[in-house]
């Protein structure tokens, strides 16, 4: 077991399962610049670690997974150009989304704004039945900026995504399950056990195969059908030949 503690994130590797925990429970794990930097370090370690087969992303404390961006740090960028550079220079959201191994968001309590966006960058979302989801950015004069305006309508039906983004409507776990925002709902006491079970199952899959499935799903999202089918064929042939990669 490997364990590293950063200021705002803890990282623990148990066997082949990476446990990444947002760790600012006093502010319901509000996402700040320090957390971005800490998460970036952890994800860089995970990304190049051949022993990691699955990632679990969760939040510490009883109150929730993540209450959203820490707005006390907003508006501090010196210029729009600097803000734009900063967004892509350390694209922690892109790194999470592009991890080759399966990722599972383990959700409970408040899952707000950036919390929803982080979860949507994972492959599978499991939630305790006490979870509440909302995207309140426009209320504060903002828009989602960690992919939410794109990942939400791709996970949900477009009308539901627009409704959440424009009105700030809150969904409970049951509604979020019906809407397709999350795939599994469990009792809070079962969340840890159930997510560990999913992670163990995912860790059994040949990493070349799970990686190929993730690549194929990204292709299905982005390419016209003919291109996607051709890509699927190529992936299948490469897997049969034992060729890694895409």
């Amino acid at each position: 077991m490997t364990e590293s503690t950063f200021e705002t994130v803890t990282y623990e590797k148990r066997g082949r399962i990476a446990h990444i925990t947002l760790n600012r429970p006093e502010v319901i794990n509000a996402f700040n610049v320090q957390m971005r930097d800490d998460l970036s370090e952890v994800l860089d370690a995970v990304r190049w670690d051949p022993d990691v087969a699955v990632v679990l992303l969760m939040g510490s404390g009883d109150r929730g997974f993540c209450a959203g961006a820490d707005l006390s740090e907003f508006g501090s960028a010196p210029s729009q150009a600097a803000a734009r550079n900063a967004r892509w220079e350390r694209d922690v959201f892109g790194v999470l989304r592009d991890l080759a191994v399966p990722t599972v968001a383990v959700l409970h309590g408040h899952v707000i704004g950036s919390g929803v966006e982080l979860a949507l960058l994972c492959d599978i979302r499991i939630a305790a039945d006490n979870a509440v989801f909302s995207m309140p950015e426009t209320y504060h004069g903002l828009i989602a900026a960690a992919g939410g305006t794109q990942t939400l309508p791709r996970a949900l039906k477009q009308g539901r995504a627009l409704d959440m983004l424009l009105t700030g409507r809150r969904l409970n776990a049951s509604d979020a399950g019906d809407a397709g925002l999350i795939q599994r709902v469990v009792k809070p006491d079962d969340l840890e056990m159930e997510s560990e079970r999913i992670a163990r199952d995912l860790a059994e899959i040949d990493p070349a195969l799970s990686g190929a499935i993730k690549t194929a799903l990204a292709t299905a999202r982005d390419l016209p059908l003919a291109g996607g089918l051709a890509h699927e064929q190529r992936l299948s042939i490469m897997l049969d030949r034992g060729v890694a990669g895409t």
Binding site: R84, T138, G141, T149, Q150, G159, R160, L166, D222
Partner: protein, 239 residues
């Protein structure tokens, strides 16, 4: 199709405009007003289908309607068929009364055999998914409010007769949020839908950073940090 909301109307702060559908000229005028008056923060329509036809929604109206940059809420009741449905599909958020039903009868109508050409073949599959859309288009299948909710065609079912009031509440809620934020969120979703994810994320980030110039964004952050409501919730002081 009969719509009692034939006069464009706005709430006291002038922030929500109700677009009338019964009269073409009034409809076009209201859409121009929404497009040109920056004080309008949200728009709504009320569609009450009473018959099989949707006579008052004319060809081309959904095109005008879909071009609006502000968030649009549709309150629906009765039979929402054909062009009325196509008009509703061009709104952003749809809610309906419990007795509302939806159908595209153009293909199966024996006297007509028409191709829905105001977005029905394009927006419906994007909104409810291709399976249900194909079924509705080819068989003329009529779906209930409950089915529409499950399919994502509407996001809320109201007790009979209450969808208009509820649509107004939602439009007012949207209008109380950041003005540019609402428009940009709508743009990011609708324009980003046709892009590969990578490009769409660039669009989102660019809109988010363009929003840095918006005084309402600064006010929204300041209000959050001061644990108070942003001032744009009460009145429009941003211009």
């Amino acid at each position: 199709m009969n719509n009692p909301v034939n006069q464009s109307s706005e709430n006291s702060a002038g922030r929500v405009l109700t677009i009338p559908v019964g009269d073409r000229a009034a409809f076009e005028d209201a859409c121009v007003r929404v497009a040109t008056d920056e004080d309008v923060r949200a728009a709504m329509i009320v569609l009450i289908g009473e018959g099989i036809g949707a006579d008052s929604v004319e060809p081309g109206m959904p095109v005008t309607f879909a071009a609006l940059l502000v968030p649009v809420v549709a309150g629906l009741s009765g039979r929402i068929d054909d062009r009325a449905l196509e008009l509703a599909l061009a709104a952003d958020i749809r809610i309906c009364d419990s007795d509302t039903t939806f159908a595209l009868t153009a293909v199966t109508d024996s006297g007509s055999g028409r191709l829905p050409s105001d977005g029905g073949t394009q927006r419906l599959p994007r909104i409810v998914g291709p399976g249900l859309a194909t079924d509705m288009l080819l068989t003329g299948r009529r779906i209930t409010a409950e089915e529409a909710l499950r399919a994502g065609l509407v996001t809320e079912i109201c007790p009979a007769g209450e969808s208009k009031t509820r649509a107004e509440q939602l439009a007012k809620e949207i209008a109380s949020h950041g003005k540019s934020a609402g428009r940009f969120a709508k743009e990011a979703v609708l324009k980003g839908a046709d892009m590969p994810l990578e490009q769409s994320l660039r669009l989102e980030a660019d809109l988010a950073i363009l929003l840095h110039t918006d005084p309402e964004r600064a006010e929204g952050i300041d209000a959050f940090n001061g644990r108070r409501n942003p001032s744009f919730r009460q009145d429009d002081g941003s211009k």
